[in-house]
C-alpha cells in the first residue's frame, strides 16, 4: 500500500495519537524484542554485541570479538539516505550503517517494529554479569541496596530489560536516596560487565504525621472545660544505621493526656522476604462517659454528685510484634500479637440519663490492673495511583482480631472489619470521585478504647490520635436519632462519598491543591442500643445513625500532605439535635 493511500485514510488527529502511542511503544517495545532482526546483516555481525543466550543459561562463554568493531581512527561512512547527511561525521566507525529504504511500503504513521514487520528492529544487547557494584553509599549498606536489585553475578543482563529501570525507581522509592543511576563497565574479559549502581543518599528522617486541633473535654472531676488544644507528631528514621530498618516515634498530647509510641520495622527479616514490626506504647489518658444528668460516686457511702461527665483515667503500657509479607505488588498480609497492661480507675458508681431513663454507666474496662492480649491478621490491597491525591484505584483491607483469653488476657473479644475505598477519575476537568465503605463488628468484652468511637466516624468531632480521645461531646445528631446516646459501640458502618476538584498542580513546593467536599452516613451501636434502645425514641429514631460531611482543601506539598478542613470548626456550631433528656454540648 502506498503512502498516499494510507495517508488519505488516516485522519490527522487519529494519526497524531497513533504516532504518540507508537513512540511510547517504540521506547519499550524493544524491551521485549528477544532476537535481533535486521534485513541487511545477521545479528552476529554487529560489533560489540555479545552472542544472545537463552534465558536461564548460566554464564555463557564470552562472545567472540566482532568482525568489524568501530574504531575512532577509521572514517565513518556517511549516511546514504535523504537525512542526516549534510554534515561530516566527527569520528566515523568502520562498521557500515544499516538502513532500510525511505518510505517504501506505507506505514507512515506508525514506525513501530511490531506494526511493520519489514522494518529492522534493534538488537537485544546482552552481557554476562560479572558482578554488581554499589557506589556512593556512605551510610546505607550495600546489601540493603542489592535487596532491591534482581540482578546477580552470572545472570544474563539485557540492557533493554524493563526491570533495570524499575529497579532504579524501586531504590528511589525507598526514600533512602536522592539520586540513583545504573551503568555498566567492562568486566574482566570480553562479554562480561559489572553493573554499577551509583547512589546519592538523602536525609532519611521523615515527618509522618502532624495533627493539631481544638476539642471540648472535661477535667478529671468530669466538669466541662472551655475549648482545649491537642496536638500529635509522628517522625521516623527510615534507614537506621544504613540497615533499611525504620525506627520511629510518635506523641500525642492534650491537657492531662499523653500518648507515646516507639516502633520499628525491618523490611527484610534476616534477609528474607518477610517483614517484621514492633511497637511500644504508653498512654496516660482519660475518657468521658455519660450523656446527660451524670451522677457519680467516688467513695462508698457518700452521696452521688452531679457532673458533666464520668471520667475514666487509665494508663496503657505494652507493645506488639508482627510479621508480614507482600503477596503481590499491591497486596500485603500482616499478623500481629499485642500485649498490654492496663491500669484504670473511674467512679465507684456512675449513672446518666439514657433517653428518659437513668441507667448505670458501663465503662467497659476492668477497674485496676488488667491485661490485654490479642492476635490480629490484616490483609490489605492498595492500587491507588497516588498516596495523598489518588485519582483511581482501590484501597481495601480486611482485619480480624481475637482476644487471647488463654494467654492471661482479661478481655475476651473478637473483631472483624472490612473497609474499601475506590477512586474514579471523572471525564470532566480531572475531577475525582471517591466512594468509601466500612463495616465492623465486635463480639465479647472489648475494652472501650478498642471499640468504635463516634468521633472516628463523624467529621464534626476530633478523631482519636494514638488511641487518645480528646473530646467529651456526643455526636451532632442531624437526623434526630439516638446516635446522641452513643459514644462507643461494638458495631459500626460508614458509607461516604467525596468529590475532589483540582485547583492547582505543580512540580515543586506544592504538587497539588484540591478542593474537596464529602458527605456520608454512619452508624455506631452497642449491644444495648440494639437489644434495649433508649427510652424516648421510637420508630426509625431508634437506629443510631447520623450524617457526616466535610469541606476543605487537600494539599500535597514537598513537606507532606495537609488537610485543611472546616468540619472541626462546624462541629462547634450548636446546631446539633439533643437527646430527649438534653444531651450535653
Amino acid at each position: 500500500m502506498g503512502v498516499h493511500r494510507v495517508l488519505r485514510h488516516v485522519r490527522p488527529a487519529l494519526a497524531f495519537a497513533l504516532a504518540l502511542v507508537c513512540v511510547a511503544r517504540r521506547g519499550h517495545a524493544q524491551d521485549v524484542v528477544s532476537a535481533p532482526v535486521n534485513v541487511t546483516e545477521p545479528p552476529a555481525a554487529h560489533p560489540g554485541t555479545p552472542a544472545p543466550a537463552p534465558p536461564g543459561v548460566a554464564a555463557p562463554a564470552p562472545p567472540a570479538p566482532p568482525a568489524a568493531p568501530p574504531s575512532a581512527a577509521a572514517p565513518e561512512k556517511p549516511a546514504v539516505d535523504t537525512w542526516g547527511t549534510d554534515d561530516a561525521p566527527a569520528a566515523p566507525p568502520a562498521a557500515p550503517e544499516k538502513t532500510t529504504e525511505e518510505v517504501p511500503a506505507g506505514d507512515i504513521t506508525c514506525p513501530c517494529p511490531s506494526d511493520d514487520k519489514k522494518a529492522p528492529t534493534s538488537q537485544s544487547v546482552r552481557y554476562t554479569l560479572e558482578g554488581v557494584e554499589v557506589r556512593g553509599n556512605t551510610r546505607t549498606r550495600a546489601r540493603v541496596v542489592l535487596r532491591f536489585v534482581p540482578f546477580k553475578q552470572g545472570d544474563i543482563f539485557d540492557v533493554d530489560d524493563p526491570e533495570v529501570e524499575l529497579s532504579r525507581y524501586r531504590l528511589l522509592g525507598t526514600g533512602f536516596f536522592r539520586d540513583v543511576q545504573f551503568s555498566l563497565r567492562k568486566g574482566s574479559s570480553r562479554g562480561l560487565v559489572v553493573l554499577v549502581i551509583d547512589v546519592v543518599e538523602r536525609n532519611t528522617v521523615v515527618l509522618n504525621d502532624v495533627r493539631m486541633g481544638i476539642s471540648a473535654d472535661a477535667d478529671t472531676q468530669g466538669n466541662r472545660r472551655p475549648l482545649t488544644a491537642y496536638a500529635g507528631l509522628d517522625a521516623a528514621e527510615t534507614n537506621l544505621l544504613g540497615t533499611g530498618i525504620t525506627l520511629g516515634g510518635a506523641m500525642a498530647v492534650a491537657q492531662n493526656q499523653l500518648a507515646l509510641r516507639v516502633r520499628f520495622l525491618d523490611p527484610a527479616f534476616l534477609g528474607s522476604s518477610w517483614m517484621t514490626n514492633g511497637t511500644l506504647l504508653y498512654n496516660d489518658a482519660k475518657d468521658f462517659f455519660g450523656n446527660a444528668g451524670v451522677l457519680r460516686t467516688d467513695d462508698p457511702g457518700t452521696m452521688g454528685s452531679n457532673s458533666d461527665s464520668a471520667v475514666v483515667n487509665y494508663k496503657r503500657f505494652g507493645g506488639s510484634l508482627g510479621i508480614g509479607r507482600d503477596l503481590s505488588i499491591s497486596t500485603q498480609f500482616w499478623l500481629n500479637y499485642r500485649l498490654e497492661t492496663i491500669d484504670a480507675n473511674y467512679p465507684l458508681e456512675a449513672s446518666h440519663l439514657r433517653g428518659f431513663r437513668r441507667e448505670p454507666i458501663d465503662f467497659d474496662i476492668v477497674r485496676g490492673r488488667s491485661v490485654l492480649s490479642t492476635l490480629r491478621a490484616t490483609l490489605e490491597h492498595d492500587t491507588r495511583d497516588h498516596p495523598f491525591l489518588p485519582t483511581r484505584g482501590w484501597h481495601a483491607s480486611v482485619t480480624a482480631e481475637v482476644g487471647l483469653l488463654p494467654f492471661a488476657s482479661d478481655y475476651d473479644y473478637q473483631r472483624f472489619e472490612v473497609s474499601a475505598s475506590h477512586w474514579w477519575h471523572l471525564p470532566w476537568h480531572d475531577h475525582v470521585l471517591r466512594l468509601e465503605l466500612f463495616g465492623g463488628a465486635i463480639s465479647g468484652n472489648a475494652p472501650f478504647f478498642e471499640q468504635y468511637y463516634i468521633g472516628d466516624f463523624s467529621d464534626f468531632l476530633p478523631s482519636r490520635v494514638l488511641g487518645v480521645n480528646f473530646d467529651r461531646r456526643p455526636a451532632p445528631n442531624f437526623l434526630g436519632t439516638d446516635i446522641v446516646e452513643v459514644r462507643y459501640g461494638k458495631y459500626a458502618f460508614k458509607i461516604a462519598g467525596e468529590y475532589r476538584i483540582p485547583l492547582f498542580r505543580g512540580h515543586r513546593s506544592i504538587y497539588g491543591i484540591d478542593l474537596f467536599g464529602s458527605a456520608g452516613i454512619y452508624g455506631v451501636a452497642g449491644d444495648r442500643d440494639i437489644s434495649s434502645p433508649p427510652v424516648g425514641y421510637s420508630g426509625l429514631s431508634q437506629i443510631p445513625v447520623d450524617l457526616t460531611g466535610n469541606l476543605g482543601f487537600r494539599m500535597d506539598t514537598s513537606a507532606g500532605g495537609f488537610v485543611f478542613a472546616f468540619s472541626n470548626v462546624f462541629g462547634f456550631v450548636p446546631v446539633r439535635g439533643k437527646g430527649p433528656a438534653g444531651g450535653q454540648q
Binding site: 513512540v23 542526516g84 569520528a91 532500510t100 522509592g173 498530647v253 505543580g506
Partner: protein
Amino acid sequence: MASNSAEATPLPWRATRRGHWLVVALTWLVVLLSAGNARAQEAQDQEPTDTVTRDARFEFDEGTGLLYLDGLLFRDIIDPALQSKLTRGLPTTIVLSAAIYRAGTPTPLSTTVQSCKVTWHVWEEAYFVEVTRPGSTRSSWTTTVEGVLRRCTEIHRLLAGDLTQIPRGVELLAAGKIQVNPVSAELLQKIKRWVMRPSATGTAAPGDALFSTFTGLFLQRIGDAERQQKFTTRPSLPVVFNSKNQ
C-alpha cells in the same frame, strides 16, 4: 505525663478562646503565604518547560507529493549531564513527535515522529544508534557524542505529510515535544503502585497526614520522560522542489 498545673490555674475563657482563634488565624496565614510563595516559585520552575520556538523549514516534493520537515535542531536538549549518561551502557531514547498545523488554525493537518535509541557498547566503546522514522529504521555506529548528537538531535527531511493532508501554498508550522527516555504508561503505573506501597521500606503508612513527605517528593519526579520540552516552529511557506527532476 501530662501536667495538672493548667487545671490548677485555669486560663480565663475569653483569653483561651482568643488564643485558639489566634492559632487558627496564624495557621491559615502561614498556609496562604506558603501557597502564594509556592505559586510564584512554580511560575519560575515551569519556565524551562514552556514551549520553545525553534527554527525549521518545510520542503514540498512536487514529484512525490510529500512534505518534509527539515533543519530542526535540538542539541541543547542533551546537556552535559545527559551526555555523560550516554556512556552508561544502558539505552537512551530521544523522541521527537510533532503535528503540522496550518498557521493560525488549531487543528493538526498531519503528524510525524522520530525516535532515536542510543546504546553505548562497553566492550566496543562505541555508540549504537537506531533512528526510527516514518517508514524506516536505520542503525549505525559512532564513537563520539558528536556523532550521536548529529543523528539524534538534528532533523533532516523528516516525512511530515502529503498532498492529501497539506494544502498547497499555505504557511505551515510544526508543534510537538521532544522527550528523553519517555516512560511508558504501563511502566509508570507499575512504578507508582510500587512506590505507593514501599512495603520493603516500612516508612509512613498511606493515610498518614504526611505520608507523602518522601513519597510525594519522588512521585512528582516521575513524569512522562526523564526530560521533556515542548516546541513550536515559526510559520513558513514550504520550499518546493521536485525530486524527479534532480
